[in-house]
Each structure stands twice: as structure tokens, then as C-alpha cells.
């Protein structure tokens, strides 16, 4: 597994600065949580790493080399909305197979699809289904299997549970933890939900108005926050005492 590092990355659209000098490192086999509210630039950071957002300053390196932004990326992304991230006209198997490197033969392809589906706890028979027949949680698992099919060095998970119902959110989070344990994946896990990040991430970065305001081990950042904004986020995530 590899190290993904953002070095003083800035993204600007005209006069509007989305990311301002962001430096962050996803160490090998580690899960880094990235939290912050909508519009703070969380998703833009991930999109910049795969060439979907233009980097106006700084560098994004994978093991010291610039991350390629053409062809099959060694960094794969899983998107927020599982209803938009799967082509409604392609079967689950076709979707997963498309991301595989080197165009394997039919037999090898089917075996690999079955292996990946098993990895994300889906029945191999699902390979023949269209996404319309799957629930949100199942779709998100297919999206994860597609990302794994490309044999990535690092996975970027962009709010992958926020469009899901609570009953399936848990299953996806368990899967993320299993995969980190079994495959040793490096992952940037983006979420606005502190409880979710706490559950999966080794360390946490807090992004506010395009800048990282706090970074450290999860227990430390959430247990003893130093920045006022982190404390504000934590307060918002804890239950209201006065009305209960």
C-alpha cells in the first residue's frame, strides 16, 4: 500500500478559493477522516486527487510521484450518491468489470467479479442485476467493489454513507473496517458525521473554509479538541441535554 500526500494544494475557481494551501498525508494502511460542513472543500480535495477538479497550486503525490490524472487512476473514488454513481443501463457485473485493468478474458473476468462481490458481502448472482433492482446500501457496495476492481493504492470515500438509510449505513461502515483490516487499504474517508468518522478513522483532519484547522489521532481530536471550530462540530454532534 502507498502513501498519498497533498502538499500545499490550492483549488481556485476564478476569484473563489475552495482549497487554500491544504497539506495532508494518508499513510500506508491508514484511514484518515476528513470532516467539515458542506462547502468547506472536502469533496474538492478528493476530486482534485483523481483529476476531476483543477489543482491551481501545490502537488498531490503518490509515493513521491505525481498522481496520474489520465487513464486508470491508482487512486479510486467512491461517491456519495449510489443512485447516481452506477449506470442504470449496465449490469452490476459489467460495471465492476469495466474498471478492471488489462481487460481480462471472460472466464477471468467473471471469477474476479464474483471475488469482488464476495468481498463486499454481495451474492455472486447479483452480477446479472441492473442497479434498479438493488437497494441503496447494495448499490454503495457495488460502487466499492468497482473501486476495488481497479486495484487501487488508495481509496477516497466521499460521504459514502450519508445518502443511505441508517439500517444499511452500519453494514457499509462495518465493511469499510473489515476491508481495512483484511486488505490493508489506505483510505481518505470524507464525512460530515463525526460519529461515523470516529468509528472508521485512525486520524482526523478538520477542514474549515478551505483550510485544515486541526489534525491528529482520532481519539485526540475528538477527545480533546484544540480548535474552536472542532469544538463547535462536537457540540453539534452531542445530544441536547436541556430538552430531554
Amino acid at each position: 500500500m502507498s502513501v498519498l500526500s497533498f502538499q500545499e494544494v490550492s483549488v481556485r475557481y476564478g476569484a473563489h478559493t475552495v482549497l487554500d494551501d491544504v497539506s495532508l498525508e494518508v499513510a500506508a494502511g491508514q484511514t484518515v477522516g476528513l470532516v467539515g460542513e458542506s462547502g468547506c472543500g472536502k469533496s474538492t480535495l478528493a476530486r482534485a486527487a483523481v483529476g476531476l477538479a483543477p489543482v491551481t497550486g501545490g502537488r498531490i503525490l503518490l509515493d513521491g510521484e505525481p498522481v496520474p490524472t489520465r487513464g486508470r487512476r491508482p487512486v479510486q473514488m467512491v461517491f456519495q450518491d449510489p443512485y447516481s454513481s452506477l449506470d442504470p443501463r449496465m449490469t452490476v457485473g459489467e460495471t465492476i468489470a469495466e474498471a478492471m485493468p488489462d481487460r481480462p478474458g471472460r472466464k477471468a473476468r467473471q471469477a474476479e467479479v464474483a471475488r469482488l462481490l464476495a468481498l463486499v458481502h454481495l451474492d455472486a448472482a447479483r452480477a446479472l442485476d441492473l442497479p434498479g433492482r438493488l437497494s441503496g446500501g447494495q448499490r454503495q457496495r457495488v460502487a466499492l467493489a468497482r473501486a476495488l476492481a481497479a486495484r487501487p493504492e488508495v481509496i477516497l470515500a466521499d460521504e459514502i454513507t450519508s445518502a443511505l438509510d441508517v439500517s444499511v449505513q452500519g453494514a457499509v461502515l462495518n465493511l469499510i473496517r473489515d476491508m481495512r483490516r483484511d486488505l490493508g487499504l489506505s483510505m481518505l474517508f470524507i464525512s460530515h458525521n463525526l460519529a461515523v468518522v470516529r468509528y472508521v478513522a485512525d486520524s482526523v483532519a478538520v477542514l474549515h473554509h478551505g483550510r485544515i484547522v486541526e489534525y491528529g489521532p482520532t481519539a485526540q481530536v475528538l477527545g480533546a479538541p484544540r480548535h474552536a471550530y472542532t469544538r463547535q462540530l462536537l457540540a453539534a454532534a452531542s445530544p441536547l441535554k436541556e430538552h430531554t
Binding site: L52, F79, R89, R146, Q169, G170, A195, A237
Partner: protein, 594 residues
């Protein structure tokens, strides 16, 4: 299928078979020269007369169908293919060059189509091939524009981004992901365009720029017949009628295609009125056996399957459940916002003393009911300033003057803690942040004297730090006005924070009803317990996997015989699968004791 579709397909079948078999069946008859019958009028032998060589015109109209239709289809195909290539340019050649091509297409679209046709017809020269190319090229910009719009919509989908990240080539993205997803509207439009192209062709041949003798299409026949229009009008009108019929066939078929995806099954007439019951005395909201049915493409969807509950004055009741549980539909039904074809039935549905199942009740309800929706962006009219939108409530319901109502709006914006309310009242909704819009929405509810506030996922679209402020505002409003609150949410923690009592919904039924403070610890229904356990909080044990609910939510078009949760329930037995449990003493479960 609707009559328009039947007529369209029927007509198209006739036109196509005439085009296919016409020259075989009537080819000889159309070339027989009858020197004794030159330029004759209609007779039993020649239905619409003969031409200057005495050939039967009716046979010639039938034979001309093949050439006319083929030319129209060829030109449409040219337009379509060129249009797809030009419209998909941003994907194929990159953003910068793509933008240039799109601009060029936009300029071409501005030219009148007929002008382009004549321009190209002159360039390509007279004759069938030149005309087909001219009509095809002239139609391309319109298709390119349509295609560009469709491609742009699909390009924003994440699956296109995912394919690019996976290294799929541009051509393959276009072929595998884009074209299949835009094919439907393109085919519909091409079918309709074919009708128009047919007409254009007839026009070109009529002007002498199209098909040349000895070949003939409908336009050429019209041109020939024109000389004698005052003597034998049918000679020119006959091919004209053929053009109209074939054009109609294409257009009606296209219409039928376009309408097809929207078909739904009707629910039939209303059922027998259920037994009307009296509302619970003193309750601000009393609902008995509420059932909501929505027509869907695969049969009626039973969104709410009979729920009974009350809300006391000043009380805050939460409704939790996952998507598809019927919680939002319940809110809409209580707010009186569901209209036919959605069917709302209840033994009674009484809000503040008005039975909403009776006609006109909603208007009599006036401002005693306030509603706050999930997305504050769509609940305001973007074209009007915020203040006047709030003021409208008081002008309509309380008959206030414009000035007094506006003053009240400013006062209410202040009450929901919007800074500088006088200035804000004169701003448009887009100048407000999401949290402020939601505050203004609550402010709108406070224009009157609400006795019940229905809030449907009021914080879901907001950031966590803002969510908290909105919940606190709702609690404050309740304290100040004494209004009751019906809060719909998928978020267990939001409901436990704000509410006194919680209804847990699953598959259109209330499965458990309990005090909010007991939700995390004393829930008895297996679904409630699983729902609470599945959500991680800041105290969740990190060493154990999260609880999950196996299986899938119930298909809302089916009506399970037993307990709807039984297929996913670890405690379910045969009795659960056979007999639906009633809501007794706050829980609808046969196994709640175990």
C-alpha cells in the same frame, strides 16, 4: 395504450407497408400509359385521375410512398448521426474545442431551417441525393443542440466520473454510458422529426429542387398536379393528403413513445366510506386508521397502511423511520397537501377541530397549521422577496393590509432570530443561507397563531452546526407559542432531542409508540432496537461491529400478510409471518416480550 398511440402505430403500419409493397403491387399499373385518358378527372377506373401521359395517379401516389419515406428516413438519419457527433463533442474532443463546437451549433440553430435547406440544396445540386444531404445537414444543428443538452445532463452523473477514473476511454464512455442513457428521448425526437422532414422533402421536390423525373415522390407529384389544380384539384391534393397522413403517422407514434414512461395504473373509484369515528376530545391532532395509496407504475403503492395516533396541545411528537416507511406521506396527509390521484382515507383526520376529509376544511383551518419542509430552497418562490412572501399569509388568511402584513413579517423574522430583519425582508431567498431560509420558513408558519407545526425533516439539508440551531429554534417557538409539534425525521437522535413521544414507522405502519427518553433504552420492538443500535454515536464501542438490520425494506407495492418486519427479524416465527400484529400498549409485535 391511449387512442393517440393506437392511431399512430396503426397509421405508421399502413404507411410502412404501402412503402414496402407499393412498388411491387402497383408498379406496373403506375407506368401504364393510357393515351385515351390524358389528364382525366376522377373516375371509377382512375380514382384521382391521370397525369399528362394518362398514368393512374392513385397508383403513382402509392408507389411514390417508398421513395418519399426512404428519403425522409435517410435525411433524418443524417441529421441524427451528425447531431450526436456534434452534440457529444465536449466529451470526445475535450472541453475547450467542445465549447467552440457548441457555440457554432448555437449560431446555426438561430438560422431558419428552411433557409439552411435551400442553401445546402443549391450547394449539393438538384436531385434526390442532393436534397437528402441538404435536409439532413439542415436538421443536424437542432439535433446537436438537443443531444448536447442531454449529454450535459448525463455527464454530470457520478458514473461518468467513475468511468473516467477507472481509465475508460472517451469513445467508450460515449458508447457504453452516454448513448444508452440518452437514446430514449433521441429516438422519440427523431420519430417526430421524420414527419417534418417528409414535409420538407415534399416542399423541395415541389420547388423542383428535389426528386427529378423520371423518379417521383409525393412532392414531384404535387408539382405535376399543380398545373391543373383548378380543373382537377385531386391530382395535386392526393399526394398532399398522403404527405399529411404519413407525417401524422410519424408524429403520433413519437407522441406515444414520449408518453409511454409516464403510464401509471389507476386506483379505480373511491372505496366505500369507512366507518366515521369521533376524534379524541381535547387533542389538537387526531388520526384514526389513516391509509394513503399512491398510483405507481407497478400497481398501487400502499404508502401508509392504517395508522392511528393523536397529538395533545403543546406536545412534541416525533415520527421516525427509514425512507419508504411512510413517515413523510403521513406528514403530507395531515397537512392536507395530498391531492388526487393520491388517495387519502381515514375514519377521521382532525386538525384543530377541522376534519380534513371534509371539503373546504383546509381553508377553514387558516393559520392554525404551519408546515416546515426539508428543502428550504424549494419552499420559497425564488422570484419574490422573502418579506412579501411571509406577508401574503396574513393578507390572505387574516385580511391584513399590505403595510401591516409586511410589518408583521419583519416582526416574525426577528422572532426567528434573523439579524437585521427589515433589510432581510427585502431580499430574495437566494440571498439567504440554508439555515436562514429554514428560519424564515418557520417564521412564515408563525405569521398566524399556529396550534400545530408539522416539520418534515427540517434539518436534513442543513449542516450539523446549523441543524442544532434550527432544532433549538423549534423548541423555543413551542415554548413561546404553546404550539404542538409533529416532527418527521430519519434521525433517531434529532427526534429524541426534541420530542416528548415517538412513533416508529415501518412499511406504512406504526410499529412502536413510546416516550422519547425511553427510545434508546426501553424500546420493545426488534425494529426500534435495531434502528437505535445501527447508528453510531460518540460513545459507540469501537471494538465491535455495528449492529445491522439484515435483508431489504418491504416492497411498498406488496401487502405482506403477517408482520412486515418478519423477514428481517431475528425473533420472527410462523405466527409473525401469518398474522399482522396490532399496535397494543405501544408496540405492534407478537414477540415483544421475548
Amino acid at each position: 395504450m391511449r387512442p393517440v398511440g393506437v392511431a399512430g402505430f396503426g397509421l405508421l403500419a399502413v404507411v410502412v407497408s404501402v412503402a414496402a409493397f407499393g412498388p411491387v403491387l402497383w408498379g406496373d399499373q403506375a407506368t401504364v400509359v393510357d393515351t385515351g385518358n390524358l389528364l382525366a378527372g376522377p373516375s371509377a377506373e382512375h380514382w384521382i385521375g391521370t397525369d399528362n401521359l394518362g398514368r393512374d395517379l392513385f397508383a403513382r401516389v402509392l408507389v411514390a410512398a417508398r421513395l418519399s419515406i426512404l428519403l425522409a428516413l435517410a435525411a433524418t438519419a443524417i441529421s441524427l448521426v451528425l447531431g450526436i457527433i456534434l452534440g457529444a463533442a465536449p466529451i470526445l474532443v475535450g472541453r475547450r474545442l467542445g465549447r467552440l463546437i457548441t457555440s457554432a451549433v448555437n449560431v446555426l440553430v438561430a438560422f431558419p431551417g428552411l433557409l439552411l435547406v435551400l442553401f445546402f440544396a443549391v450547394i449539393f445540386g438538384v436531385g434526390a441525393r442532393g436534397a437528402a444531404l441538404a435536409v439532413g445537414l439542415a436538421g443536424a444543428p437542432a439535433f446537436a443542440r438537443l443531444c448536447h443538452t442531454l449529454v450535459a445532463a448525463v455527464s454530470e452523473r457520478d458514473y461518468i466520473a467513475a468511468a473516467r477514473i477507472a481509465g475508460v476511454s472517451r469513445l467508450r464512455v460515449l458508447r457504453r454510458h452516454v448513448l444508452p442513457n440518452i437514446a430514449e428521448p433521441l429516438i422519440v425526437n427523431a420519430t417526430m422529426a421524420a414527419g417534418g422532414v417528409l414535409l420538407t422533402f415534399a416542399g423541395l421536390s415541389f420547388l423542383g429542387l428535389g426528386v427529378q423525373a423520371p423518379s417521383y415522390d409525393w412532392g414531384k407529384l404535387m408539382q405535376d398536379g399543380l398545373n391543373g389544380i383548378y380543373v382537377h384539384p385531386l391530382a395535386a391534393l392526393g399526394p398532399g393528403i398522403a404527405v399529411v397522413l404519413a407525417g401524422l403517422a410519424f408524429n403520433l407514434t413519437g407522441e406515444a413513445f414520449a408518453a409511454a414512461p409516464n403510464r401509471t395504473f389507476s386506483l379505480g373509484g373511491p372505496r366505500d366510506p369507512a366507518g366515521v369515528t369521533a376524534p379524541v376530545p381535547g387533542a389538537i391532532l387526531s388520526v384514526d386508521d389513516l391509509r394513503v395509496t399512491i398510483p405507481g407504475p407497478a400497481g398501487p403503492i400502499h404508502a401508509v397502511r392504517g395508522i392511528t395516533f393523536t397529538v395533545e396541545p403543546g406536545e412534541a411528537v416525533g415520527v421516525v423511520g427509514e425512507s419508504g416507511s411512510g413517515k413523510s406521506v403521513t406528514a403530507l396527509a395531515v397537512a392536507g397537501l395530498l391531492e388526487p390521484p393520491v388517495r387519502v382515507e381515514a375514519n377521521h383526520l382532525v386538525v384543530a377541530g377541522e376534519d380534513l376529509t371534509a371539503a373546504g376544511a383546509h381553508r377553514r383551518l387558516g393559520t392554525s397549521l404551519a408546515v416546515v419542509f426539508q428543502d428550504p430552497m424549494t419552499s420559497f418562490n425564488p422570484a419574490h422577496r422573502v418579506g412579501p412572501q411571509l406577508a401574503e399569509v396574513s393578507r390572505f388568511h387574516q385580511g391584513m393590509s399590505r403595510k401591516a402584513a409586511f410589518a408583521r413579517a419583519v416582526d416574525r423574522l426577528r422572532a426567528v432570530r434573523i439579524g437585521e430583519p427589515e433589510r432581510r425582508a427585502r431580499q430574495y431567498p437566494f440571498e439567504f443561507s440554508g439555515g436562514m431560509r429554514q428560519r424564515a420558513m418557520i417564521g412564515m408558519g408563525l405569521m398566524g397563531n399556529p396550534r400545530l407545526i408539522i416539520a418534515d425533516e427540517p434539518t436534513t439539508a442543513l449542516d450539523v452546526t446549523v441543524q442544532r440551531q434550527i432544532l433549538e429554534l423549534l423548541a423555543e417557538v413551542r415554548r413561546d407559542t404553546g404550539a404542538a409539534l409533529l416532527l418527521i425525521s430519519h434521525d433517531v437522535s434529532v427526534v429524541t432531542d426534541v420530542c416528548d413521544r415517538v412513533l416508529v414507522m415501518y412499511a406504512g405502519r406504526v410499529v412502536e409508540e413510546l416516550p422519547a427518553k425511553d427510545l434508546r433504552t426501553l424500546a420493545r420492538h426488534p425494529y426500534t432496537r435495531a434502528l437505535v443500535a445501527a447508528v453510531p454515536d460518540l460513545e459507540t464501542d469501537l471494538d465491535r461491529p455495528l449492529a445491522v438490520i439484515p435483508g431489504l425494506p418491504v416492497d411498498p407495492t406488496l401487502s405482506p400478510a403477517g408482520c412486515a418486519f418478519a423477514p428481517r427479524c431475528p425473533l420472527a416465527d410462523d405466527h409473525c409471518r401469518a398474522v399482522a400484529p396490532e399496535l397494543l400498549a405501544g408496540v405492534a409485535c407478537h414477540r415483544s416480550g421475548s
